[in-house]
């Protein structure tokens, strides 16, 4: 039994949690964590490590958990990541570390994510600090954006001895961790704020309310402000719309707007001034993690929520766990359905979404079966609010104000190699701004490589190879 099944994690009951924004998962307590850690076989060639984008020594920290050496476990993780309590909660472990766990062949993989979260939380509760060994080396690096990529790159460089300043456009640091991922998956004050503060404690300066591209640009950072290199980790914040009729009716909004009101501005909390409205019925268009976040936030505001997705359940791009949680909470899935028009009343407010039924045809470039419209299948879904969650692309602000910083057709900054080298000397980029919207951990992995490349660049420029 021990080998095949993992220690279950306690969660808030769906009927209760759909009425609050508290965290869904309670995480492991000490006994549960130690028991789960003892399932790890401590493989000689651990697949989990090679499948981790930041290459955490997973068996290394899990063995320390097993021995109840929690501080040592945290030290092992901190060598590779400054955001363990975040990643333990939001990484798609099932396709990464846990996907390669040997126990997963005949049973359940070790719950690596839950263990990482346990250690991240322990580190916070006991103030285990992240060591910075290096002496200041006198070089200065500017990091644009304080999301997962920016924080990771800044942390890496600070630990090498660089003087790092992060410039953040919003009034709080954390990027998508603050504005995008809801409280019930990733607590803000408790987890995000603390891990951001950890990066500050490593000596990194964070300037909020600084929109690079408007209040100065990349070139002014390199010249006027005297930085030796700039890292661009500005993410993919530009929302996409469907370009269908009725999309500008009152009550149609992007998932970014809806989630920003709720997460960054705390509109769900009466103690905060920003309003949010859902009406009684909400339709969320899209099937990714952001769509699940929007849908689950809407249900917590008391709405009846439908997710409209044009392919079938199998193709839903959201993590299985998120879809499972959404279903448990009572979200209705309108699959193989695609909106063609948003309908409104004479005052210009949304009343319904006109949709068509789809069927799956031949596979497209992405390998997924292409949805095809079924003729004559039009029908309407009555709704008060429509939330468009169709993916995001990089904000053009940086590329548009940085001459010769090349982008691709989707507006992503071109990285010439896996180290985030761009078409401009001294400017490096990684994360969603390069790949388009992906995951927290992939951004962190790429940012670590970029930090190393920035170090190489500055050293070879000043000391030769």
């Amino acid at each position: 039994m021990k080998l095949t099944a993992r220690v279950p994690v306690r969660e808030q009951d769906p009927e209760i949690r759909r009425n609050n924004f508290d965290e869904v998962s309670f995480g492991y307590n000490e006994e549960e964590a130690v028991e789960e850690a003892s399932r790890c076989l401590n493989c000689k060639k651990p697949g989990c490590v090679t499948n981790c984008p930041v290459s955490i020594d997973i068996p290394g920290f899990v063995m320390q958990v097993k021995e109840r050496n929690f501080k040592e476990a945290a030290s092992v993780i901190f060598k590779s990541s400054v955001l363990p309590a975040v990643c333990g909660r939001v990484c798609p472990q099932e396709t990464q570390c846990e996907g390669k766990c040997i126990l997963g062949v005949k049973g359940e993989a070790v719950a690596i994510g839950k263990l990482e979260r346990f250690i991240g939380d322990r580190a916070r509760e006991n103030n285990f600090s992240i060591p910075v060994d290096s002496k200041p080396n006198g070089f200065r690096v500017a990091v644009v954006g304080s999301g997962p990529a920016g924080l990771t790159c800044a942390g890496e460089l600070a630990s090498m001895g660089y003087e790092v300043t992060i410039f953040e456009a919003l009034h709080k640091a954390g990027g998508v961790l603050e504005y995008g991922i809801p409280e019930f998956r990733l607590p803000k004050e408790k987890v995000v704020k603390y891990e951001v503060e950890n990066v500050r404690r490593m000596g990194v300066k964070i300037i909020t309310n600084a929109v690079i591209g408007k209040a100065g640009n990349i070139d002014s950072l390199l010249t006027d402000e005297g930085f030796d290199a700039v890292f661009v980790g500005t993410g993919a914040g530009l929302p996409q719309f469907m370009n269908i009729p009725g999309e500008n009716l009152n009550g149609v909004l992007s998932a970014n707007e809806f989630l920003t009101r709720i997460n960054l501005m705390k509109a769900y909390d009466d103690d905060f001034d920003t309003p949010v409205r859902t009406g009684q019925r909400v339709a969320v268009v899209g099937g990714g993690n952001v769509a699940m976040d929007a849908a689950r936030a809407a249900i917590r505001l008391g709405a009846e929520v439908s997710v409209i997705y044009r392919r079938s359940a199998e193709e839903l791009p959201a993590r299985a766990e998120e879809v499972h949680h959404a279903r448990e909470e009572g979200i209705n899935f309108q699959l193989l359905t695609n909106p063609v028009e948003v309908l409104g009343n004479e005052s210009g407010w949304v009343t319904a979404v006109k949709c068509v039924k789809m069927e799956l045809g031949e596979p497209d470039d992405s390998g997924r079966r292409r949805p095809v419209v079924i003729k004559g299948s039009e029908f309407t879904i009555p709704t008060d609010t429509v939330i468009m969650s169709l993916g995001t692309s990089p904000n053009p602000l940086i590329a548009g104000t940085t001459p010769n910083l090349e982008t691709d057709r989707k507006g992503c900054v071109k990285a010439l190699d896996e180290n985030g080298t761009t078409t401009r000397e001294g400017i490096f980029a990684a994360g969603d701004v390069v790949t388009g919207s992906a995951t927290v951990i992939l951004a962190m992995g790429a940012a670590r490589k970029a930090a190393k490349a920035i170090d190489d660049y500055i050293k070879s420029k000043h000391f030769g190879k």
Partner: protein
């Protein structure tokens, strides 16, 4: 924190605040705006920039109390501070990139309605510094609502005033004055810049379309981040969807779909008329009342 260096009451429920914000002041240009947050619980409120001083590192904003959040904002006093003050946001006025010699030959008519006088001022000031002194029409409900008059007179040529109640200048609307001016001297003006309430900008744009007079308007839409991230500020301009925060706030007034823009602007507003009251509006109202 962004300290309030000066606070002045310049009209009924209209306040002028000088705020210490060196980074914003350093890069601000006419036509741009800021987003201000009062404190930890506050909303992000977009406000136009009325003046700035790069050397001394301050920015002047003008705000009219229209609801809960603006009320909380003006409750702060000199010496206190806003928790957040971000900018400059949006595109600068287009004329700053025009050839200076051509610009000097250009005859502008500026129209400022109500607190629209505040964003008009830095544009006129910049033009005056570059040797251009446009004519100006100022409109307000009544005499008390006319703001920044001395400053505006200094940076413009002929100044015309229209008040709804006739307490100062012509009794009527800015469009009445504009119509008269253009009829007196057809073809004299090359460009009109109109900033004020949506309904005023719409009326001006409708009138100047018939006159063939190019008209720039500055939209004050709903916004959250102000950097292109949320799309709350989307407007239709020339049949295309634009984000006011990054593509604007200034647009060709003849291309703007004002009906839509005005409807969207009222999305979170308390219902003011009894004529239509759907459940949604009720819900929004309740949510606001609850918060208030």
């Amino acid at each position: 924190m962004f300290k309030i260096l000066e606070k002045k009451n310049i009209g009924p429920d209209i306040w002028q605040m000088k705020v210490h914000a060196p980074r914003v002041a350093k890069y601000a240009m006419p036509g741009q705006f800021v987003i201000v947050i009062t404190d930890k619980r506050g909303e992000r409120i977009p406000l136009t920039i009325c003046d700035y001083n790069r050397k001394e590192g301050w920015v002047i904003i003008v705000l009219q109390v229209v609801g809960f959040s603006t009320n909380r904002m003006v409750a702060l006093n000199e010496g206190e501070a806003f928790s957040d003050f971000v900018g400059p946001l949006g595109q600068p006025s287009l004329f700053i990139n025009e050839d200076r010699e051509e610009l000097k030959r250009k005859r502008f008519i500026f129209i400022a309605g109500g607190v629209g006088a505040a964003p008009v001022y830095p544009q006129l000031k910049w033009l005056a510094e570059n040797g251009v002194k446009p004519d100006l029409i100022i409109g307000a409900r009544s005499k008390e609502q006319l703001i920044l008059m001395d400053d505006l007179r200094e940076v413009s040529s002929d100044v015309y005033i229209a008040t709804n109640d006739g307490s100062e200048g012509v009794k009527g609307f800015v469009t009445d004055v504009l119509k008269k001016l253009v009829e007196e001297r057809p073809g004299y003006y090359d460009e009109c810049v109109a900033i004020g309430p949506m309904i005023m900008m719409k009326s001006v744009a409708e009138m100047t379309r018939g006159m063939g007079l190019k008209t720039i308007v500055s939209l004050n839409t709903l916004m959250i981040d102000g950097t292109g991230m949320c799309g709350a500020c989307r407007v239709t301009v020339g049949g295309k969807v634009k984000f006011t925060c990054v593509d604007g706030p200034e647009f060709d007034g003849h291309e703007v779909n004002f009906e839509e823009a005005m409807r969207r602007q009222g999305m979170y507003r308390k219902e003011e008329t009894e004529s239509h009251k759907c459940n949604l509006d009720k819900a929004v109202e309740d949510s606001h009342n609850k918060k208030a």
